[in-house]
Symmetry: C2
Subunit: 138 residues, 2 copies
């Protein structure tokens, strides 16, 4: 499960709004230890891109899914992690040295995995997902 999650190029991140509506978005991410990092980058131009951040601030419970699909159903698999989300801002340095260091660490990790982030670093914020449970199938 760890290899499949770590090597996946895209995941789907679910957060929950205060009214109980789940929010779902595809995202690039990088795994280190039991934490997943994902940046809010320039891809989604809508203000709705921030919904996930509002949701996490109100309810830290999130889920991230990676899966493989094709029409040969014998080959299907998925890995899902339940996690607690935290939002890291590039300007956390003003108040929290640790959070700022983790923000920079996350950006470096994402730049290591995705060429596009090496061309242009994601401005952030970064979402950190501390994994509390792994599930996989089959």
């Amino acid at each position: 499960m760890r290899i499949r999650l770590g090597e996946a190029r895209v995941g789907r991140l679910a957060t929950v709004a205060p009214d109980g509506q789940p929010h779902l978005v595809p995202c690039c991410f990088a795994l280190r230890g039991d934490t997943v990092y994902s940046a809010v980058d320039g891809k989604p131009k809508s203000t709705r891109a921030l919904r996930r951040l509002e949701n996490i601030r109100a309810n830290a419970r999130v889920a991230l899914l990676v899966d493989f699909y094709n029409d040969e159903w014998d080959e299907l698999w998925w890995v899902r992690v339940d996690a607690n989300g935290r939002v890291l801002n590039s300007d956390d340095a003003a108040t929290d040295d640790g959070a700022h260091a983790e923000f920079n660490f996350a950006v470096d990790l994402l730049r290591g995995k995705y060429e596009q982030y090496r061309v242009e670093a994601p401005a952030g914020p970064v979402v950190a997902l501390d994994i509390v449970q792994w599930r996989g199938w089959p």
Copy 2:
């Protein structure tokens, strides 16, 4: 958005547990009008396959995402629907002719889209997702 959702072979379905934890699972589905149908089939052998049903019975709010990813980020897209979920059982005929007819309709629709369901019809239950909002990107 309608064409992309309708033609997608796999989606990711988010439901929410009573404790606020989102649940996320890849699923096959078929779209007709503003309703998406997805069957619980033999693919996931774990009892956890029923989590989505319990969640929907407690909180009907769900989201379904289809997306396209590759490393050329100019080509990315996604379509997401927020919906209200209903659970249709094969034995609803005992209590509700309409639900039974809809269950059969959904199974026929799924068998039309997926060859595997023509070889072996999904036993169900079937989840019906009544779309309340469409979102797409870019």
